[in-house]
Symmetry: C3
Subunit: 442 residues, 3 copies
C-alpha cells in the first residue's frame, strides 16, 4: 500500500469554531486592558467591585459578597480594605511619593497613618529593589497589620535627613470579600472551570491578562451551547479560591477539567503547569493543543507554589486543574513590579493565548471514546470517497489510524497522540467515519 | 565470589536446530526467486495459480478458490483478472511499449482495450516517474475500472504527435480469488502464523522475497514436529487477508504469534515493525533474536499502513503479529518500481533473514516459565560439574541468573533480557538445571 | 505568591541522630581495622572465633557453632579448617614462601602437606598474577580437597630447578562453622538486617571494612531504642548466609529492609547495588541518602554474582536487601590480592560510609505515610509562625509540598523525591505540621 505524500497546509486555524478572532478581538482586548489596568485592586474593597462591574458590561456575571469574619476551612475572611489617598511629603513640603501617580507605591492593606517622622524611622517602612533602581516593587501585608510605601531605589537613596509627613488615607474594617462568578450551562452538568485573579493593583500580566482573557472567552462561549458547562471565577487569589471552595464543596465535584488563567499576555513562549495528578485529560488536551499549534512551549510538572491551582489541587479536592501561561510567575524580571505594565503586555499576545484556550476547549468538547462498528479488518474506504487525493494527507492517514485503534479503549485524543497527527485531522476523520456508520464516538 | 572472565566465542549459529543452512540453501533460494520472478501476478488470476503450483513442488500447499462476489466483512471478492498481451504501437507501427518485455508496463486490473488514439488522449493513461527517468513504476486499479500503461519517463518524453495503437488483451470477469495455505501440526493447537503476499508481478523484494522465505521455512519446519503448529498463508495482500480472516473468525484465535514476511531480501539492515499491542511475546522474541544476532537493526512502533499486519491487528482480531523486514516498504528507492528486481534482491540476504526467522522460532518454541525447585538460597553448582571453566562464560553466568530469577513469574526470555545474555545461553543453562532437578520449565 | 529565595546552608550533618561521629570515631575504626586485619580467617576455624571475640569486646554478640555435616538446603556445612604454619624451602634450605609473613600465601582450605618435590611438580601448586608481578593473589579451594601456595610472580619466575621442601601444618576435620549474631530490639519486631562477611584472611576492603562498620554501627544503635529491630550477622560468605537462612526460614520474614556491608573502606565513590526487586523501600531510601549527601554515586541494578545478597534475594526468600559499597568487588585492581590492605583502606573512608548507613537508617526510621488533617485548601501557615524568613528555604518549601501531597498515599520519602528536597527538610517540616495538628504521620 502506498502512502500518498501530498502535503497540504494545516487545515485549521487555532481556536476555530469557538473564537471568531482577528484584529477586532485584539482591539477589544487592548481596550479592556487599558480600562482595567489603572484600578487599585486588592483582595477586598471597591477596586474589586469596580473591576467586576466593568466585566459585567461584557458578560452577565453574578457578584457575590462574603462578610468579614466568615470561617472558610483554616482561614477567615479578612477585614475590607479601601484607600483614597497616600503620600509622603519631604522636609520642604514637596510630595515625593504619591499613591495617585502609581498605586504600587502603597503596601497593600496598609493601615491609616497621618504622622510626621524622621527619615530613619520612615525608612523602616520603605521598600525598594536595589538591583532595579528605577522600578517600584509590589508588596502586601494582608494578615499582619502594618503599613509601608514602595519606592524606586533611586527615590530611596536621594532622601535627605529631616522630618517627613506621611499620610495614608485608608480604612481597614469589617466589610466583605467580593468576587464574580458566571456559569454557562452546557448539555452536561459536568463543568470546565476557568479561574482568574482580580486582586492585583496596576500590574498587567499578573493577573490582569487572565481576567481579560476569561472575560472574552466567556463572551464567546455564551454564543452557543457546548457539551460541557463552563464556570468562570473572578476571585482574589488564595482567599478567594478558598472562599469559593468552602461554599462549593459538593459542587466542585462537577469540575472535570480546569485552567487557572494568569501571566498570559506577554511575548514569552507558552508554559503549561500540569495538574498535581499530572495525567488528567486537561493535561493531555493542553499538551496536544500546544503541539498542534506548532508554537514553542514547555510542559512543567506541578509544584505547590504559584496561583490558585494550589487550592484546587489540595488533597481534599484534587481537581484536574492546570495553568496555561506564557512567562511563568516569578520567572520574568517584571514580575511583581511596576515593570509589569501595558508596555510589557499586549492585546495581540493575549489574543494568541485566547485562541489556544479555545483550541483546548475544542479538544475537550470533541474528545470521545472510539469504538469501531467495523472491527474486523479495515473498512473499504475507496468506494465511499474517503480514500483519495482530494483529502489532506493528515485526514487520510487519520482514517487508517482510527480503523486500527478504535478498540473501545482509545479516545480521539489518545489516537491523535499515538498517530502523532493533529487532533483536528483525527477528529475530522472520525466524523467522516461516524457518518458512514463505521465508528461510534462517545 | 570471582566471576570467571574466559571469553568463549558465541556458541550458536543463528537459526540452528531449525535451518541446516549453508551454500545449498542460498542456491535453492536463488533458483526459486528466478523461477517465480517473471510471472505476472495480481490479486486474482492465473499468475497466482502458477505461483502456487510452483510452491507446491516444495511444500504440500492446499490451494483455495473463493468466488467473485463473495462478501467478506466490508469487502467483496472482485472479478478475476487475466492478461495475455498488451502493447502500444507508435504512428510508424513500431511496438514501443510491450507487456511481454516487462509486466510492470500494464496497470494491474486494466480492462481490455483495442483502439487507436491521439498522443494527447493516450497520455492520460501513461504513468512515469520524472525523478527516475529510466525506471518503470508499478500501478494498479483494483476497485475502479480503468486502464493504463507504466513507462519510463524517457519513453514518455520521447513520444511524438500522431495516432497510436493501443491493445490490452485482458479479461476481467467473474472467477475466483486464489490463495495457498499450509498447516504444519505441532504438539499444541496453538499456532504461529507466517503470512506472505502473492499478488505482485515482477518485483523481487515486495513481496516475492517473503514468498520464497515462507516456502523454504515451511519446508524446514515440516522436518520435525514442534511445540507449536505453524500456519503459512500465501495470499494476495489486503483482500486475501480479509478473505482468510472472514473464513477463520474463530480459528484465528488459535494464533498466538505471527509475522508478515515481505521486503526481506535486499542488503539493508533489519527492521522489525511491532504488533499493534507493542508488547506481545512475538515482539520480545524478535527483538531478542535481533539483539543476539549482533547485526544492526531497528525496532519500529506499529503504524497502520503497510502490509497485512493491518488486517491481523484490526481491533476485532488484535492478533499479535508483527513484520520482520530488511528495508521497509516505501522507504527504499526501488520500492514499487522496476528497480525492485533480482539485482537488488539476492539469495544470500534472504538466507540470512531466513535464519533470523528460524532463531525467532527457536525462541518461541523454547521459551517457558522458570520455577526453581531449589528456591531457598543458591543450588550448589560445583559438585554437579556446572560451575567450572569448561563452560562458556555466558553459560555459567546464565546459571546464576536463573538461580536468582526463576521465581515462577519470569520466562527464559524475561531472564535473558534482564541478564542481557543470549537466549541460547540462558536456554542451555536452563536445560542443564532442569536435568539436575533444580528447575521446572513450562 | 512569592517564593522566598534565602539560601541557608544544608541544615543537617549526614548520619546525625544515630552517629555522634568525628575524629574519635575515625580513630576507633582505624584501631579495629588494625587489630582484625592480621588474623587468618576462613569460612570455618579459629580465625573466625578470634575475630568474633574481638567484636564482642564492642557489642554483645551471640556466637553460634554449627557442626560439620549439617544439611542446609542444597549445601552441607564443611569440615573445619585450621592452620598453624606453612612454608616452602628452596634447594638451599632457605624459607622462600612463609605463611607467617602473609596469610594469603596459602590457598584457603589447603590440606596438610609435608614433602619434598621437584620444581616442576611444585609449580602445579603455585599461583601468581603475571600482570601484577609484586602482588600475591588470594585463592581458596573449599569444596575440592587440594593444596597450594600463592606467590608474587617475581617469586615464581626466580625459582631455580632443584628439590623443594613443602610444609603445610593444617588440619581439615569435623568441627563446626562459627558465626556471630546480634539483635537490637526496637519498638517493632520488624527488622533491618545488616550482614557482613568474616571469612576473608588479610584483606581490608573485602570484607573486613564491612565487619568494622557493622560493629560500630551496632554499638551506636544500642544506645537508644528505634522503631525497627536491628539484626547484625557476622558470617562466612555464602555458606554462612545459607546456614543462617536455613535456621531462620520463618524468622527471615520479619526482615523489612537490609544491607550487605562489604567493600566500603576505600577512597572510591559510592555504589549501591539494588535489591533484586529493584523498587524496595531500601532501594529508595539509599538512593535518597546518597542524593542528599551531595557526594558522587552510582545506582546499579541487581546482578547475581557478588556477596550474600545472592542468598537473601534467592526466589524462596526474595528479601529486600541491597548492598551499599564504595568500589565494587571485582572492579578495583586490589580486589582479592595482597594489595587490598591498610594502605588502601582507611578509617576516614569507613567513617564516611558509616554516616551514610546512619542516614539510610534515619530515613527508614522516620519515613511514614502522610495524611493531611486539613485536606481542603492550604493550611494558613503564617499565623502559626511556620511561614517566615527564619526557616531555611528547604523547610518552607517542604511545608507547601506536604500540604499539597499528603493525600494518604504518599510517604515522606515519596514527597521528598517528588519535591526534590532533602529528606531531612521534608521530615522536619512534617514534624512541624504534625505538631500544629495538620498532618497525621504513619
Amino acid at each position: 500500500m502506498k502512502v500518498r505524500l501530498v502535503k497540504l497546509p494545516l487545515f485549521f486555524v487555532l481556536g476555530q469554531k469557538f473564537i471568531y478572532s482577528g484584529p477586532h478581538m485584539v482591539k477589544e482586548i487592548d481596550a479592556l486592558l487599558k480600562r482595567l489596568f489603572p484600578i487599585c485592586r486588592s483582595i477586598t474593597g471597591n477596586g474589586v467591585r469596580k473591576t467586576l462591574s466593568i466585566i459585567r458590561t461584557h458578560v452577565p456575571l453574578k457578584i457575590k459578597e462574603v462578610p468579614t469574619g466568615t470561617k472558610v476551612f483554616d482561614w477567615t475572611v479578612p477585614k475590607e480594605w479601601n484607600i483614597k489617598d497616600a503620600y509622603i511629603k519631604d522636609p520642604s513640603g514637596e510630595k515625593i511619593v504619591d499613591f495617585k501617580k502609581n498605586n504600587l507605591h502603597i503596601v497593600g492593606y496598609s493601615i491609616p497613618v497621618n504622622t510626621k517622622m524622621k527619615l530613619s524611622g520612615l525608612k523602616k517602612h520603605l521598600h525598594s529593589i536595589p538591583e532595579k533602581p528605577s522600578i517600584i516593587p509590589y508588596k502586601t501585608s494582608y494578615y499582619k497589620e502594618n503599613w509601608g510605601f514602595c519606592v524606586t531605589h533611586e527615590q530611596l537613596t536621594s532622601l535627605k535627613d529631616g522630618t517627613y509627613e506621611v499620610v495614608i488615607d485608608s480604612s481597614l474594617k469589617d466589610g466583605s470579600l467580593t468576587y464574580g462568578e458566571l456559569l454557562i450551562p452546557g448539555k452536561s452538568k459536568d463543568e470546565v472551570l476557568i479561574s482568574c485573579g482580580i486582586c492585583h493593583p496596576s500590574m498587567a500580566n499578573d493577573s490582569l491578562s487572565g481576567v481579560v482573557l476569561a472575560t472574552l472567552l466567556a463572551k464567546e462561549l455564551l454564543k452557543k451551547k457546548g457539551r460541557y458547562s463552563y464556570r468562570f471565577l473572578f476571585i482574589p487569589e488564595t482567599i478567594g479560591a478558598i472562599v469559593w471552595l468552602a461554599g462549593n464543596k459538593t459542587g466542585a465535584k462537577r469540575i472535570k477539567h480546569g485552567l487557572v488563567a494568569t501571566c498570559l499576555g506577554d511575548s514569552g513562549q507558552f508554559n503549561y503547569k500540569k495538574s498535581r495528578a499530572g495525567n488528567a485529560s486537561i493535561d493531555t488536551a493542553v499538551e496536544k493543543a500546544l503541539k498542534d499549534s506548532k508554537m514553542p512551549y514547555s510542559i512543567l510538572d506541578y509544584w505547590p507554589t504559584g496561583s490558585d491551582e494550589r487550592q484546587f489541587n489540595s488533597p481534599g479536592f484534587s481537581l484536574p486543574i492546570g495553568s496555561l501561561m506564557r512567562s511563568v510567575y516569578g520567572h520574568f524580571p517584571e514580575y511583581h513590579t511596576s515593570g509589569d505594565n501595558l508596555d510589557f503586555v499586549k492585546g495581540k499576545y493575549v489574543e494568541e493565548t485566547l485562541r489556544l484556550y479555545a483550541e483546548v476547549i475544542f479538544i475537550l468538547e470533541n474528545d470521545a471514546l472510539c469504538t469501531s462498528r467495523n472491527p474486523f479488518c479495515e473498512p473499504q474506504l475507496g468506494p465511499r470517497g474517503l480514500y483519495d487525493d482530494h483529502h489532506p494527507e493528515e485526514f487520510v492517514i487519520s482514517l487508517l489510524w482510527l480503523a486500527n485503534y478504535s478498540d473501545g479503549k482509545n479516545t480521539l485524543l489518545d489516537i491523535a497522540n499515538i498517530a502523532d497527527q493533529p487532533f483536528r485531522a483525527v477528529q475530522a476523520a472520525a466524523e467522516s467515519l461516524e457518518k458512514v456508520g463505521f465508528l461510534r464516538l462517545g
